[in-house]
């Protein structure tokens, strides 16, 4: 059987090599189908990875709690407009929920940042200690806020790279410089390492951080002392997030004295929720491409079946001779199955090359990130073999059922 398979396979490839044009046209459907699968998977995975890394810039295992909506004089202020989350809430959460490694809070306002004769509008965040750790910010230069800065409401600031680019000359050292926020002078004590775009596409580096106390008392101001724009928390492990979210909800509901039937007056979001929403859009695209790939593989398979039926007819006499010298049904069946599979395999390999190439081209031309995975290549390879097997079965069976006398007599 070993020798039989070896010779049959080499013969199949020889026949293929002899009719290159015909083989190429026959397998076009398979080529396109496999290429579509490879390209689709690599674009899909690239997009997914991009979303993941964008979400990861938020920090690790982050929970964000936003205040609820207010309704004043019939006008609903929208989510986050209420001032019902307090610094005390955060401190209580930390105390009551051991799962939380860190809690923090902040409030933000967009304002003009002035340095010398330049100015720039940037979001200014007043933050608590712990915030920068939760959000995984690191320093390009300078030092972090100290507890004293926080307690004393010191006029110190940390700036993001975009702010540096817009306020300072290239090469100028921002650390030590004095910038003005709402006419209050601040000393820049550090520059933050760039994070790039967030998963929503906003520039995370366009930011100024100042101590929460400073913001509350000197810059942003407040109607209600101790109220925050958002609370932040983080857990050690990702698996703990759902449990931590439930615990936070319970603590906050009891602190806010909400009756059972009342809805939450805050919103809790985790990284996982955000990632899910982002990945959902990619899913639709994947399903569409998958449909296209299936159709072209089907068409490709039918093409192979068609050319094999032609081949069986053309070689009827050869089949007769083979039967006369002792080929059994299984030999003829295998011969044509192997020919079908070598065709589809050839198409599959071409498709893999084309797919990898088009994925690369997508990255270069459209700038979309793509990831070519070994699994998708192996799957495409196996799938093309299966297509060959499936669509080769009918012609091969037809050939193997020929009557030797009729086949020999066929002209």
């Amino acid at each position: 059987m070993g020798a039989f398979l070896f010779l049959t396979i080499t013969t199949a490839f020889r026949i293929l090599g002899r009719n290159r044009m015909r083989a190429g046209l026959t397998v076009l459907g398979i080529v396109i189908g496999v290429a579509a699968v490879i390209a689709m998977v690599s674009i899909g995975q690239g997009a997914k990875a991009a979303v993941r890394s964008a979400v990861a810039t938020m920090g690790t295992n982050v929970i964000i709690i936003l205040p609820g909506a207010t309704t004043t004089g019939g006008v609903r202020g929208g989510q986050g407009s209420a001032l019902n989350l307090m610094v005390a809430d955060a401190q209580d959460l930390k105390k009551k929920i051991p799962l939380l490694v860190d809690t923090g809070w902040g409030k933000r306002d967009v304002m003009q940042v002035v340095y010398g004769n330049r100015n720039w509008n940037a979001p200014v965040n007043g933050i608590s200690p712990g915030y920068l750790t939760i959000r995984d910010w690191s320093y390009a230069s300078g030092v972090p806020f100290t507890q004293t800065d926080m307690d004393m409401a010191a006029r110190v600031a940390l700036v993001g790279q975009t702010v540096v680019d817009n306020l300072f000359e290239p090469g100028e050292e921002p650390v030590g410089a004095t910038i003005r926020l709402k006419n209050v002078p601040f000393t820049v004590i550090g520059v933050l390492a760039p994070k790039g775009q967030s998963s929503q596409g906003s520039d995370q580096d366009d930011v100024v951080f100042i101590p929460f106390t400073t913001a509350e008392r000197k810059v942003v101001g407040t109607q209600f002392l101790g109220s925050v724009g958002a609370l932040f928390a983080s857990t050690e492990r990702t698996e703990d997030l759902p449990q931590a979210v439930e615990a936070i909800r319970e603590v906050l509901r009891s602190r806010h004295r909400l009756q059972l039937e009342k809805a939450d007056d805050f919103t809790i979001r985790t990284q996982i929720d955000i990632a899910k929403v982002q990945e959902g859009t990619g899913q639709t695209l994947t399903v569409m491409l998958f449909a296209i790939a299936s159709i072209s593989l089907l068409v490709g398979g039918i093409g192979i079946m068609n050319i094999l039926l032609v081949s069986v007819t053309e070689r009827t006499k050869e089949i007769g001779v083979r039967m006369a010298v002792g080929a059994k049904r299984k030999h003829i069946l295998l011969q044509f199955l192997i020919e079908a599979m070598s065709l589809s395999l050839f198409g599959g390999l071409l498709g893999i090359v084309l797919g990898v190439f088009s994925a690369r081209a997508t990255t270069v031309i459209a700038g979309w990130p793509t990831i070519i995975s070994l699994e998708s290549i192996v799957a495409a390879f196996v799938f093309s073999l299966v297509v060959g097997l499936f669509f080769g079965l009918y012609p091969a069976n037809k050939a193997s059922r020929l009557n030797p006398i009729d086949a020999l007599r066929y002209e």
Binding site: G2, F6, T11, A327
Partner: protein, 237 residues
């Protein structure tokens, strides 16, 4: 000594639409080992049907056919393929070599289906080619060989499986006189020197004249069965 081929009252009936065609009508025939014989008859006489049955390519409608003592009529298609592979070598009028496949690989074919190791297939095929004077031509494709040479390759292919019976269907039908003489000489030599039973189906009297026994088939029946002495065949030559 029992016969190599033993046909008893063989009938073959085809249906062509509404018409019944009786291709063979009660043929009984014994052929001994080592015979060199011819089956003659006009086209439509039933000689091809008889050859197909003897060659195990077809089964009789009724009657029994024993090859080497084995009742072939009861065998299924795979068992018949096995019998053809081991016991029968075919030689056809139009050579029936597989195109664009080297002479050596054509000769290997019966051993290939027998599942022998590749090395043995090649060695025995090369040996068979050498026996009929084609050594060194193994790598040629059929299209590069003359008619006579192609028929020799076909003979090598028939011989390679060391069959007990060579069945030649109009082996010289597509050859010129010179090549025909060569091929018949090869067949005669194989019969004389190696004792292989050879049956030649032909409608040409001077081809039949090479053989030592001549059967004439007409309207599906054997109408004559006569031995030729070496002398008479030599006289006719």
């Amino acid at each position: 000594m029992d016969s190599l081929i033993e046909c008893r009252d063989i009938w073959k009936v085809y249906r062509l639409g509404d018409v019944q065609v009786q291709a063979l009508r009660g043929v009984s025939l014994d052929i001994q080992r080592g015979e060199f014989m011819s089956i003659m008859g006009a086209s439509g006489s039933g000689k091809s049907t008889l050859m197909n049955i003897i060659g195990c390519l077809d089964s009789p409608t009724s009657g029994t056919y024993r090859l080497n003592g084995l009742d072939v009529g009861s065998l299924g298609s795979d068992a018949l393929a096995e019998v053809r592979n081991r016991q029968i070598g075919f030689i056809f009028q139009n050579f029936n070599l597989i195109p664009r496949t080297s002479a050596l690989e054509n000769v290997q074919l019966p051993l290939f289906y027998r599942g022998l190791p590749l090395r043995e297939q090649r060695a025995r095929a090369a040996e068979a080619l050498a026996r009929i004077g084609l050594d060194g031509r193994g790598h040629h494709y059929p299209a590069q060989l003359s008619g006579g040479q192609q028929q020799r390759v076909a003979i090598a292919r028939a011989l390679v499986s060391t069959p007990s019976l060579l069945l030649a269907d109009e082996p010289t039908g597509n050859l010129d006189t010179e090549s025909s003489r060569e091929i018949m000489t090869v067949l005669k030599g194989l019969n004389r020197d190696e004792g292989i039973t050879v049956i030649v189906v032909t409608h040409e009297a001077d081809i039949a004249a090479y053989t030592s026994r001549e059967i004439i088939v007409k309207d599906g029946q054997v109408v004559a069965d006569r031995a030729r002495t070496r002398e008479t065949s030599d006289v006719r030559r």
